[in-house]
């Protein structure tokens, strides 16, 4: 999860990418939190997320879990992670959370300026910020930034650069569409914050620029 703040891409692309975490605090508000988390998840559904996972299931909406299964799986201490592809959606969810006042920690990963605007508009006063100071060490060994835009969308690093290249190759050879390729990439994400809509847009932009051979 730490890596939701290291998502890479252009500002224009990141404008359509907001990860949202519902996070009970171990030892502080676990007792009786299940109905509260369930209510918050209902609010998320009403706001229209583009992906979601509950820690009880470890499969996201593109790896075989139905939305109602997420709700049914929630128990004491369950955390739920989701992602929105537009500012209005994340704002609606936060408005609902404020009104519900369930007392569970809520974290948003996104452009600082946008989150600040939204917080001011709905009267929230954020508490803590986690800022990325970048990548260090042997950075010359990393895959190119174009590929990292996809791999960094999984907060646990489960989307392999090899899979991104494989999907680009399959789209370029006419075997799958950009949307279907995006769903292939979303499937391994075990934190439910891979944004398939943003990913499809990126594939549309990038696949004509790449020739990727099978290794």
């Amino acid at each position: 999860m730490t890596h939701s703040l290291h998502r890479e891409g252009t500002i224009d692309s990141l404008e359509r990418d907001y990860a949202l975490f519902i996070y009970p605090a171990r030892g502080f508000n676990y007792k009786g939190c299940a109905p509260k988390v369930r209510r918050l998840v209902e609010i998320v559904y009403q706001a229209g997320p583009v992906n979601m996972i509950a820690t009880t299931l470890r499969h996201n909406l593109y790896s075989g879990v139905r939305p109602e299964e997420v709700l049914d799986s929630i128990k004491e201490g369950s955390r739920v992670f989701s992602v929105f592809n537009n500012r209005e959606g994340i704002k609606e969810a936060l408005k609902g959370f404020k009104a519900a006042d369930e007392g569970i920690s809520i974290v948003v990963s996104g452009l600082i300026d946008r989150v600040r605007e939204i917080a001011l508009e709905i009267g929230l006063d954020p508490h803590t910020i986690n800022i990325s100071l970048g990548v260090h060490g042997g950075t010359d060994r990393l895959p190119p930034p174009d590929i990292r835009q996809f791999t960094t969308m999984c907060g646990h690093g489960m989307v392999s650069p090899l899979l991104v290249r494989d999907v680009i190759r399959r789209i370029n050879s006419g075997k799958i569409s950009s949307w279907d390729g995006s769903l292939v990439l979303a499937k391994p994400c075990a934190c439910g914050i891979y944004n398939p809509h943003r990913s499809a847009e990126l594939l549309e932009e990038l696949t004509p620029l790449y020739t990727v051979a099978r290794r």
């Binding site: 890596h3 996104g110 600082i112 954020p126 100071l133 990393l142 489960m158």
Partner: protein, 241 residues
């Protein structure tokens, strides 16, 4: 992970899913290179194998190889350290826990990410550098804390050093006065690390999602820049237990 050769049909579908790039063809069958494998379980979890040839290796929970699974598989909990996950709740529940209070700073160094993975010897390179600089405030709730054999030197338990994992996080809580030393030490050790690491800092906000100027001044003075996107705790939590 292990792929049973007698079952594998050599379709190669599993290979691109491996974050370690540890699956390759051998005699027309897919084989997991055991040294490179993180035991993250991704190849099994995506259920891509048409003949069910992929399984957990029988040795996956044997210490110290079990560390690979605990630090790489997002679905695993730390049986060895007794602590769940690669790190802690850090900033995510700080509105409730107040672990990082006003005027304090948290630092997280996630080694191996993005993408490259790392040997635990890389963690030791950083914990040793921190110890040499007199920085020993490693978060006690973080799994790394219990893996350190000697806090004075930053040495890890020796049997762990050959294990390879997708990533691990070193977390620190420091005062503003200590942060420049920490950032300087991390910058200096970056050249010694045989992988990559991400660096992040967290702190409580001033009203209106205003980042404390003191933090930004320190970050700038030490030659770092920060990204325009961040992880923000929205301040909606409260303790009820």
């Amino acid at each position: 992970m292990i792929i049973y050769k007698e079952v594998c049909v050599g379709c190669g579908r599993c290979q691109p899913y491996c974050p370690a790039g540890a699956i390759a063809f051998e005699d027309m069958k897919s084989v997991v290179e055991q040294d490179a494998c993180y035991e993250c379980g991704n190849c099994l979890r995506v259920a891509i194998c048409p003949v069910d040839a992929i399984h957990d290796s029988p040795q996956v929970y044997q210490y110290p190889r079990a560390l690979r699974k605990y630090f790489s598989d997002p679905c695993a909990t730390h049986a060895v350290t007794g602590i769940e996950g690669r790190g802690t709740e850090e900033s995510k529940t700080n509105d409730v826990t107040e672990r990082c209070g006003p005027g304090e700073f948290g630092v997280a160094i996630e080694v191996g990410r993005p993408t490259l993975g790392m040997g635990l010897a890389d963690i030791q390179r950083i914990t040793r550098a921190l110890a040499r600089s007199g920085i020993t405030e490693i978060e006690p709730q973080n799994p790394i804390h219990s893996m350190i054999a000697d806090p004075a030197t930053g040495d890890l338990k020796v049997e762990m050093l050959n294990e390879r994992v997708l990533s691990a996080i070193i977390e620190l809580q420091v005062t503003p006065e200590r942060l420049p030393d920490v950032l300087r030490t991390i910058k200096a050790v970056a050249n010694e690390v045989d992988s990559v690491f991400t660096l992040d800092v967290f702190t409580t906000l001033e009203p209106g999602l205003t980042i404390p100027r003191k933090l930004l001044d320190i970050v700038e003075a030490e030659g770092f820049t920060w990204r325009p996107n961040a992880k923000i705790n929205m301040g909606l939590g409260r303790a009820s237990d």
